[in-house]
């Protein structure tokens, strides 16, 4: 269009210039100068307009300009009147028209020329007007046709136009078919947004037929209220795009005829058709796609949620595994050992180490699970790690879980790890009561980075593990104290007090499992009268509380027993102690018995304890039942009564705690029967009997409960005896006990027993006085032919009895015995006393 406009501008300038030249040169007088100047000016104005707006000139404006040129020329011809030159200028118009326009259009311009010049000639009426008209119209026509022919447009042009029109129509039909058959709605709008095209897919999509839609503004038909402004903005923006073609894609919503809304994707483009912009677009319902997208997103969200749940579950179960290790094991060592294995499992780590802090906050390896570490056995004890030193030290100092990659050898917390090519470490501090009690470290050989989940598991587990370890440590300390306390209260088996004619043996077998210390205890107390107090007790409960109650009972019992109270009174005192001072309704069972040497009986009290087993000399065991009172600590003032039972020489008594007769899944009666059977088959010697009972009654794996046995044997009396005593005053009563027992056996009456004992005592007193500080004297006796003979032998020097007090001993002996033989020798002194059993004694 630009070329045509500019060309036309040249023509108009040339025309205007020619008109003005007419005035410059000599011309006829009838030429109207003013009219010519005005016409030239009009031509010039059009020329300028064409030039200036060359880019924006439209087709019809070109035609109009060309036509107005023809009119101006005709007017000029009218005013100039006779000039021959002016009609030739019509040729310029024709040439322009034929050059730029189709032949038909150019011929229309020729027709305008013909008509307008004809009018001029009629009005002016010059001579030879017809010739002039023919010349003026014929010349441009012939020139135009010639130029058309030259351009090859004349004939071809006609066919071409037809063909092009046909092709265009076919193309349009085809396009319409294609568009109609398109699965997506196709819509085209003009610059004002009025619908110009609406394919069948659009009909289906929106529910409006093409006839209803076309000619209606798009926005009012299908754009939802709130999107309309946006639609306008978008349309105007697209139209204002300087490019001839522009395209954009966006998502929006539309309304169907039935009012339902749906999401849609629009692909719109601007096209200019003959300078007129159109907007056409394909619109696609994406509700299905959107739905699928949402489904997919929901699915993804669900999967993510499930994965998160699984992660948390794994985390929690991992943590629980670690915590369980701490809670399920009875001892610290077991806790740590189990924990290490589980840390490796949960984190899929290659090695794990736990370091515990001492009082100075220095960390030492307490347990580790490092592959191959156990093989070389004894390792050098590593130096404790100070706070901030190495990886573990840093974890302890920071009190934060940490990760480390490619640790340096000196950073490794455990020397056992040094042999591994550790790739990364994870460490977490164990905090209890706001103190770092240790550090847990896991190591990976395989190249990996421990994840935040791993850290989370360890962090979660650490607090509880720390607490459990703390508890275990406290417990172990308490356990050690309890064990120490309990063991300290039990007499050494070789250190049990003995009495003449009696043998006492004891055993204590702690439970095999390192569980709490039980409250089982026994004691053997020498009484002031030379007898023995035997105690077998069981404080209910375990651990330190039970052990400390045992300790108090033991002290109190010893104190009361030494005061010589009878057993029932002693037990009453103990009951008061347990009742008033026992914690948490503490309770205890106890047997306390006193046995005097030389007397074939026991005085005893049973406060709720399993009945002791008595084995008579003939070997038949039976339980001393029926003498059981309430346990200690049950009633404030229960009445206890001392029971006296006969215990013949040659009989044995077995005291025990329930651990000996109670076994899981077994009736207590079975246990008691079993014990009786084992005792019956056992040897008489108390030590051997104790061993036999432990061997046969305690399971081979060890006792499930603590077992205590206290065994008393009243030795059988024979016609001959021999005994040794320390040369100290306390030996005298023992010796008398032994003698009374033996004399009883010999069949001596009470008076004889008393007198012989007195006589022997005098001899023994001499022996004690004659001997040095530490020595022994020997007493032996025999029964022969109705006569007893006692020999008291010492290793001291006989001193002639002085007059007075010291001499009375010898006179007593002589008075009480039939014969008294005194044989001093350098090795010692022997006193031989004889008396007939039926005699009244000496003179």
């Amino acid at each position: 269009m630009r070329v045509q406009a500019r060309s036309l501008a040249y023509l108009f300038i040339a025309g205007a210039a020619l008109g003005l030249l007419t005035l410059v040169f000599p011309h006829a007088d009838d030429v109207e100068d003013v009219a010519l100047i005005v016409l030239a000016g009009a031509a010039a104005v059009i020329a300028v307009a064409m030039w200036v707006w060359a880019d924006r000139v439209r087709q019809w404006q070109l035609h109009a300009a060309l036509a107005s040129g023809t009119i101006i020329l005709s007017l000029a011809n009218y005013y100039v009147d006779t000039t021959v030159i002016y009609p030739l200028m019509y040729t310029w118009t024709a040439l322009f028209a034929f050059y730029f326009f189709r032949v038909e259009v150019a011929l229309a311009h020729i027709a305008l020329i013909a008509v307008s010049y004809a009018l001029v000639l009629i009005l002016v009426d010059p001579p030879s007007a017809v010739v002039r008209w023919l010349l003026a119209v014929g010349t441009p026509l012939i020139a135009g046709l010639l130029i058309s022919r030259l351009l090859g447009r004349l004939r071809l042009g006609v066919h071409d136009a037809e063909r092009r029109t046909r092709a265009l129509q076919e193309s349009e039909a085809r396009t319409r078919l294609v568009l109609d058959g398109a699965p997506d709605a196709f819509v085209s709008l003009d610059r004002d947004g009025v619908i110009k095209a609406w394919n069948s897919a659009a009909e289906r999509l929106f529910g409006w037929s093409a006839s209803e839609a076309i000619g209606v503004p798009f926005r009012s038909l299908v754009t939802p209220e709130e999107f309309r402004e946006r639609h306008d903005q978008r349309r105007i923006a697209l139209i204002d795009v300087p490019q001839v073609v522009a395209m954009q894609r966006f998502e929006t919503e539309f309304v169907r005829r039935d009012g339902t809304r749906f999401p849609a994707e629009a692909t719109v483009s601007k096209i200019e058709i003959k300078g007129e912009p159109f907007i056409s677009g394909f619109l696609r319902d994406v509700s299905e796609r959107e739905r699928r997208q949402q489904e997919r997103e929901t699915l993804l969200r669900e999967q993510a949620a499930r994965a998160e749940a699984e992660r948390v579950a794994e985390l929690v179960s991992g943590m629980q595994l670690l915590v369980d290790a701490a809670l399920q094991n009875p001892t610290l060592d077991k806790i740590l050992e189990d924990l290490m294995t589980r840390v490796r499992g949960v984190l899929q780590a290659d090695a794990a180490t736990i370091l515990l802090a001492d009082e100075d906050e220095r960390l030492s390896v307490a347990a580790s699970s490092v592959p191959g570490a156990s093989e070389d056995g004894a390792q050098e004890e590593p130096e404790p790690i100070a706070l901030g030193e190495g990886f573990a030290g840093r974890v302890a100092q920071a009190r934060e879980a940490m990760l480390a990659a490619d640790p340096k050898p000196e950073d490794l917390p455990d020397p056992a790890l040094a042999r591994l090519d550790v790739d990364s470490l994870i460490g977490v501090p164990l905090l209890a009561e706001n103190k770092v009690t240790g550090v847990l470290v896991a190591a990976s050989i395989a190249p990996r980075r421990f994840s935040s989940e791993d850290l989370a598991v360890l962090r979660l587990a650490a607090d509880r593990v720390a607490l459990a370890i703390q508890h275990a440590r406290l417990y172990e300390r308490e356990h050690r104290i309890a064990v120490t306390l309990q063991r300290s209260m039990l007499l050494d088996e070789d250190d049990i007090p003995q009495a003449p004619g009696l043998v006492v043996a004891a055993r204590y077998e702690p439970a095999a499992t390192e569980a709490d210390v039980g409250g089982d205890w026994y004691d053997v107390i020498p009484t002031p009268t030379g007898g023995l107090g035997l105690v077998m007790g069981d404080v209910a409960g375990k651990g330190l509380a039970a052990a400390s109650m045992v300790s108090r009972l033991r002290s109190a019992l010893r104190a009361y027993a030494l005061e010589g109270h009878e057993p029932a009174r002693v037990i009453e005192q103990l009951n008061r102690l347990v009742w008033t001072e026992g914690r948490d309704s503490q309770m205890a069972t106890l047997i306390y018995m006193v046995v005097e040497p030389g007397e074939s009986r026991i005085d005893w009290v049973n406060a709720g304890h399993p009945a002791p087993l008595l084995v008579n000399g003939n070997g038949s065991p039976h339980y001393l039942e029926g003498a059981t009172s309430v346990p200690l600590g049950v009633l404030p003032f229960p009445s206890y009564e001392t029971v006296t039972s006969t215990m013949e020489p040659g009989s044995s008594l077995v005291l025990f705690t329930d651990g000996l007769i109670e076994r899981p899944g077994e009736l207590i009666d079975e246990g008691m029967a079993k014990l009786a059977a084992r005792v019956q088959e056992a040897p008489d010697d108390p030590e051997a009997l104790c061993d036999h009972l432990l061997r046969t009654l305690v399971p081979s794996g060890g006792a499930t409960d603590d077992v205590a046995i206290l065994m008393l044997r009243n030795l059988p009396v024979t016609d001959r005896f021999r005994a040794e005593f320390e040369t100290e005053p306390e030996a005298l009563s023992q010796m008398r006990s032994l003698l009374r027992r033996w004399l009883g056996h010999a069949g001596a009456d009470r008076r004889t027993i008393s007198e012989v004992t007195t006589a022997a005592g005098e001899a023994a007193t001499n022996a004690i006085e004659h001997s040095g500080v530490a020595g022994e004297f020997e007493v032996s006796g025999r029964i022969a032919a109705g006569r007893i003979e006692l020999v008291i032998r010492d290793r001291g020097h006989w001193r002639q009895p002085r007059e007075g007090d010291q001499g009375r001993g010898l006179s007593l002996m002589r008075a009480l015995m039939d014969t008294v033989e005194l044989t001093p020798s350098p090795e010692g002194t022997t006193v031989r006393l004889r008396r007939r059993l039926d005699s009244d004694g000496g003179t």
Partner: protein, 117 residues
Amino acid sequence: MKDGLVGLEIEERGDIVLAHVTGELDIAGAPHAGERIAEAVPTSARGLVVNMSELDFIDSSGVAMLFGLVRRLSSRRQELRVVAPKGRPVARVLEIVEFQRAAPVCLDVDAAVAEID
């Protein structure tokens, strides 16, 4: 009060001191028991009764203890009686050592107290 095998209880009846000795009196307990009894008798007391009716055993050291008491009391002009019922081991021993020559042996406590009064 027990001292070794010896039990000792002091009782005052007016200006007479009663010492009840129980258990077994031998060299292990006699010297100490004698001391305690002597200390229990003030100079103001008229006499002492040593009750041995519940004593199970006595030997020469127990006898020596009694002789010692006799000596101490007679120097203060205080009377001493020993109670030892017939048939008891103590009575037999006192008989053998002829203790009644040093101090009277009574059959029961009341008789002993009455004798001093």
